[in-house]
């Protein structure tokens, strides 16, 4: 009975919403025009990066804060180690991981650099870095994390702290995260570099902290 009701409700929702979207009036505000008009003063050439780190930098600042918060909560929950025995990684996977990891780091740096004028940026680069760490962990070349030490903690929080420091420094000149146009370029690159390292570590930590097991406790 409940199943039927839910399925019927979902189907009605789909039909109504698609029907509404089909005769939706065109948007009254053209944001893409505003973005391309202000692009020269943003310090970067790609509109998505300009929106993420300049026009709506506030969102990105809070986003990295949310990620950090999620990691802290996971640490606070205190994960009990599991006793599952995982099959040993095959030598083929290990050799492939050894080959791929340096390439992935190069790709991450490229994505970070290219974000200023093409699709790319700190988040994509951080995701690639995290994927490299997870790959190495699955190939048993990198142990799971027990509890982060001081250096790791600094790396995890560094991106957020750099971002916050730049935002607070700019507060003296007027508004939060309102870069002066001539210095916006290197400020965004500084923030993005910090974000890349921290995001890579945080995303990897979300996996590596959850997957520690008794074998890692030595």
């Amino acid at each position: 009975m409940k199943r039927l009701l839910v399925v019927l409700g979902a189907a009605c929702f789909v039909v109504l919403l698609i029907g509404a979207m089909l005769d939706l009036a065109p948007a009254s505000i053209a944001l893409h025009a505003a973005v391309s008009a202000n692009l020269p003063s943003s310090g970067v050439e790609h509109p998505v990066t300009a929106v993420l780190l300049n026009f709506r930098g506030y969102d990105t600042l809070l986003e990295i804060a949310v990620l950090l918060l999620a990691l802290i909560v996971i640490l606070a929950i205190g994960i009990d180690s599991t006793t599952d025995v995982r099959p040993a990684a095959s030598p083929v996977l290990q050799a492939l991981a050894r080959l791929a990891a340096p390439l992935m780091i190069v790709v991450a740096v490229y994505l970070l650099w290219v974000g200023a004028f093409r699709p790319g940026g700190a988040f994509q680069a951080g995701a690639v870095l995290a994927a490299a760490a997870v790959l190495l962990h699955l190939a048993e070349l990198l142990p799971g994390w027990q509890s982060p030490g001081l250096r790791l903690r600094l790396g995890l929080a560094g991106g957020f702290l750099i971002f916050l420091a730049v935002a607070a420094g700019l507060l003296f000149q007027g508004a939060l995260l309102e870069y002066p146009p001539e210095q916006a370029g290197w400020m965004i690159l500084l923030i993005e570099s910090g974000l890349t390292v921290s995001l890579g570590l945080i995303l990897a930590g979300l996996f590596l902290l959850l997957s520690r097991d008794d074998g890692d406790r030595s």
């Binding site: 409940k2 199943r3 839910v6 399925v7 979902a10 189907a11 929702f13 789909v14 919403l17 698609i18 979207m21 089909l22 939706l24 065109p26 948007a27 944001l31 893409h32 973005v35 509109p47 998505v48 300009a50 929106v51 993420l52 026009f55 709506r56 969102d59 990105t60 986003e63 949310v66 990620l67 918060l69 999620a70 990691l71 909560v73 996971i74 929950i77 205190g78 994960i79 009990d80 988040f123 995001l199 995303l203 979300l206 996996f207 959850l210």
Partner: protein, 100 residues
């Protein structure tokens, strides 16, 4: 129907599938996956509707990029909570409440 509208329609269907999954599935891992399907549907609606006139709008794209990262964090947190629940109770389901 433009490509943007098609994306948005698929997003609506994904969202409805996700909602049905969250409501109907008992296993918490499946429920987290359904929740992610729901989120992906919402992102697709945002991006699709924004480019229904053929012009890509960078603002919703940036918002969706932010949303994806936050969704990853939320999923990891949910998985950590599920593991804690499993360690404490030995089950991967929420306890049934009998009429309140």
């Amino acid at each position: 129907m433009s490509a943007g509208l098609l994306f948005a329609s698929v997003g609506v269907i994904l969202f409805a599938l996700g909602v049905a999954g969250v409501l109907l599935l008992g296993h918490l891992l499946r429920r987290i996956l359904a929740f992610n399907v729901m989120g992906s549907g919402a992102f697709l609606v945002l991006v699709g509707l924004a480019q229904r006139n053929g012009i890509a709008d960078p603002v919703p794209q940036a918002m969706v990029l932010t949303g994806i990262v936050v969704a990853v964090a939320a999923t990891a947190l949910a998985l950590a909570l599920v593991r804690r629940l499993y360690v404490l109770t030995g089950k991967i389901e929420l306890p049934q409440d009998d009429e309140g």
